[in-house]
Symmetry: C2
């Protein structure tokens, strides 16, 4: 393996980064939709049981090499963002 392999592997990482970014944004959009549905139903936005369900599902499907503790950490960050975006939407809705 030489420098060319390194460049090609790095190109692969760049592609994967962009695909992960796309999915994180798509996920955030779906969570914003969920926020709107809950808003109409008057349901509380934050649901710790739902978060636990998602983490369990990830755990059951994590074949590595990334350790579960790190998967949990990354996804908790992703969950937090989505909730913050929902709260922004809620504030905007209150201002209308």
């Amino acid at each position: 393996m030489g420098l060319n392999d390194l460049e090609s592997l790095r190109g692969k990482v760049d592609e994967l980064n962009l695909e992960i970014l796309r999915l994180i944004n798509e996920r955030a959009e779906v969570v914003q939709e969920i926020g709107k549905v809950k808003e109409k139903q008057g349901v509380n936005r934050y649901d710790p049981l739902r978060e636990r369900h998602m983490l369990n599902l990830l755990k059951d499907n994590n074949n590595g090499p990334v350790p579960q503790s790190t998967v949990d950490h990354i996804f908790k960050e992703i969950f937090k963002t989505a909730l913050e975006l929902q709260e922004d939407d809620h504030r905007k809705a209150l201002l209308v």
Copy 2:
């Protein structure tokens, strides 16, 4: 929109979670490959310029709704993991 829509949207989030998980693990595997190439070349594993390049590429391609500061945060976590896995491989290689 009713409860059924909520269930269907949650199903979508679960699917996206698993796809993100799959890509994060795939990315880690490619980074482990990169570690092996660098090992053979005697090149330093941590490369801050490469990390800057990846963050810039993500910034140029982030169409939201997730804010860039959060994207940076999530990916720095992903980078850190990958580096830790490389270091594990390195230690194992030294023990052989």
